[in-house]
Symmetry: C2
Subunit: 404 residues, 2 copies
């Protein structure tokens, strides 16, 4: 195990000159104990400022140019953080994706990391200098700049941690850890000291906005322990563990929820082989992430096929469905934009029965009607009316005694 720790600081953590100076102090302190590699996001607001500039030139700017444009934000914060470290006597050097050969696929704005050359980082560490690396971006084989999509800096940090065989990747953000659910809805929500990768994957996908899901997948694949903690206050945050070492693990670890969802139902669609692909294939081609998918048993060769997508994809998804209507026959397209998802997550679910019934009992007592149910080994997701979300989350949090 190396002595390397990767620290990643998000946009709000480096959102002003004062915040950058505060982050420099965190790095200085940590550098006395560990060998640090730092990854930074753009100063909060900067990426949006750049996007607004781009929007002056049409709705669909060239993706290559768009990435070249918005990747400048991290270059700014990386250089500033290096300066802030110099000011308090810490040697540091900023590096761009191109300078450390952070190679990605060439799918602009949602590029995937292929590999990273650890040599320059290693040389820098060997010289007693803290490398500050621009998050969120990479380069293609032909040297064009790419970006990894929103929140991609988390993935950058984990990728570098994997490459450098770091003992841990610390994701600094503006919350102090992962909670059993959103404390704004349930004031009794409790910070978790640790959570398993699997649970985190399910939580992340369901809208726990603390860390990007791709980063957790990456961490899972390369077995990098990740810690989520605050750059605004001290504390140990929440450790995302590789394995579930906690024998006393509760049944449910947390409750995630996500509003701004939209539900499409293809009513009376022919239940023939290839039907699901005929719907989901074109949606995937249009880069729409489909979330909960439910298909009921078929009656007389016809069935109802229902799926949810993020509300911002409504227009494109509707277009896609109308296009496939020519090849797929269905009676009606029903669209419900007044829905939300709530998920119970916990590795404890694997070995315990009765979770679903406890949950449904709690919800029915609050008069919450369940529209869709989808389950996996460690997660139960329900789709309900958006207006019921707060009540549902509170009821479930109490039912599973998460405040204890």
């Amino acid at each position: 195990m190396s002595n390397i720790v990767v620290q990643k600081f998000g946009g709000t953590s480096v959102g002003s000159e004062e915040r950058i100076a505060a982050v420099a102090k965190i790095i200085k302190k940590a550098s006395e104990k560990d060998s640090l590699v730092v990854v930074v996001s753009a100063m909060s607001g900067e990426t949006n400022r750049l996007i607004n500039l781009a929007n002056s030139f049409g709705e669909n700017p060239s993706k290559r140019e768009f990435d070249a444009l918005i990747s400048t934000g991290e270059k700014v914060s990386a250089a500033l953080l290096a300066m802030a470290l110099h000011q308090i006597g810490v040697e540091a050097k900023s590096y761009t994706a191109s300078q450390i050969s952070m190679r990605t696929t060439d799918s602009y704005s949602k590029a995937k990391i292929l590999d990273v050359d650890g040599k320059k980082i290693e040389e820098t560490l060997d010289a007693g200098i803290v490398p500050i690396i621009t998050g969120f971006q990479g380069i293609t084989d032909s040297g064009d700049v790419t970006t990894l999509g929103r929140g991609g800096s988390d993935t950058t940090a984990v990728a570098i941690a994997a490459q450098m065989k770091a003992k841990r990747c610390d994701i600094f953000t503006d919350v102090d850890g992962i909670y059993t659910t959103d404390p704004r809805i349930v004031p009794e929500a409790k910070k978790l000291d640790s959570i398993t990768m699997e649970e985190m994957l399910e939580m992340s996908g369901q809208g726990a906005k603390v860390i990007q899901i791709r980063a957790v997948e990456f961490a899972n694949k390369y077995k990098v322990p990740v810690r989520v903690l605050s750059s605004f206050e001290s504390g140990n945050g929440t450790l995302i563990t590789l394995e579930d070492n906690n024998m006393e693990n509760g049944l449910v670890s947390g409750i995630a929820f996500q509003k701004n969802q939209i539900k499409f139902t293809l009513h009376g669609v022919s239940d023939t082989p290839g039907m699901a692909y005929g719907i989901l294939g074109p949606l995937s081609d249009a880069n729409i992430e489909v979330d909960v998918i439910v298909q009921n048993v078929s009656v007389n060769g016809k069935t109802d096929f229902t799926f949810t997508v993020s509300k911002e994809d409504e227009a494109i998804a509707t277009d896609v469905i109308n296009t496939v209507k020519e090849s797929l026959e269905f009676d009606d397209l029903l669209i419900d934009s007044n829905i939300a998802k709530v998920s119970l997550v916990g590795v404890g679910m694997r070995t315990h029965a009765g979770i679903a019934s406890t949950a449904f009992k709690a919800l029915s007592e609050k008069g919450v009607n369940i529209q869709m149910i989808s389950t996996s080994e460690i997660k139960i997701t329900i789709v309900i009316n958006e207006n019921n979300v707060d009540n549902a989350v509170k009821a479930l949090h109490t039912a599973f005694k998460l405040e204890e």
Copy 2:
């Protein structure tokens, strides 16, 4: 002669989304006739915004990080200009210094261009795409980002024009050409259709802020014809010619002047070998550009050594002189910060006598006292009281009939 024209757009030319759209139209029109390579500066105000951010972290930020920081401005404008061109149907691609291997020395913030790889530019042109290149910056052999100093985008443009054997380099700015003198002082000042490189070198050095002197030197060395013109209004600008083709050339082409100068006189300095170097060497080491230098004949082994520098270098220059005082003996250090330089420039001077006497007669008639005189083959520079500059420039402009 190739059909390539390099167009460079300065900070005010791309100072807003509207300006970038206007520049895109200029490029579109010119691209119908010539093969274009475009070089851009940062949007006006952007470099200062970045410098202000850097200033939060001490007075002397690391030059490497400083360059990494401020070089982001051109990356932003290059990507935006490419988008603006796409919007009006012109294919374009932005390139950073790293992407076209614009190699420089590693003296950060004042790097000098070593060479540039024309291959990517050529391929882009061959594909019918307009390459948009970030001005002002380069990379070192180890891949670090450098900048060329203020106004360096002009030099970038000329370097690329030289590499690509362009038939011309057009420098777009916010003035419509080079004038016989500053029209704000002399309303009758006339725009020159052409000016020789040599004259331009002298004009530029004396404060004609239209184009950077290094760029003209570069153009001179590689025989690149340069044209200075406005991106705000149409017109042919002023062509900076390689040779003086104009038989009817007047005696004086223009009058340049520069305020904010300061004059140092080492009174009663020992006139021994190495004295001048003993003064100018340390000033050069401190990166201070010394301008007019005058040394009078010596009397009794002692002389007066006088030079001028820009007023902003006053503090450092004074420090340097006080340091050399230990090794060089002199009686007094006289500092006059109320001076200005005025220069008559013209290749016609070479072959005509009597320029100096005409000039001095005009000045004496206006009661302007001359403090220092320095002459070269195509220039006469005088140092006068700063308050006399406007009168002196007007008198000289009339005396040499420049308004005709």
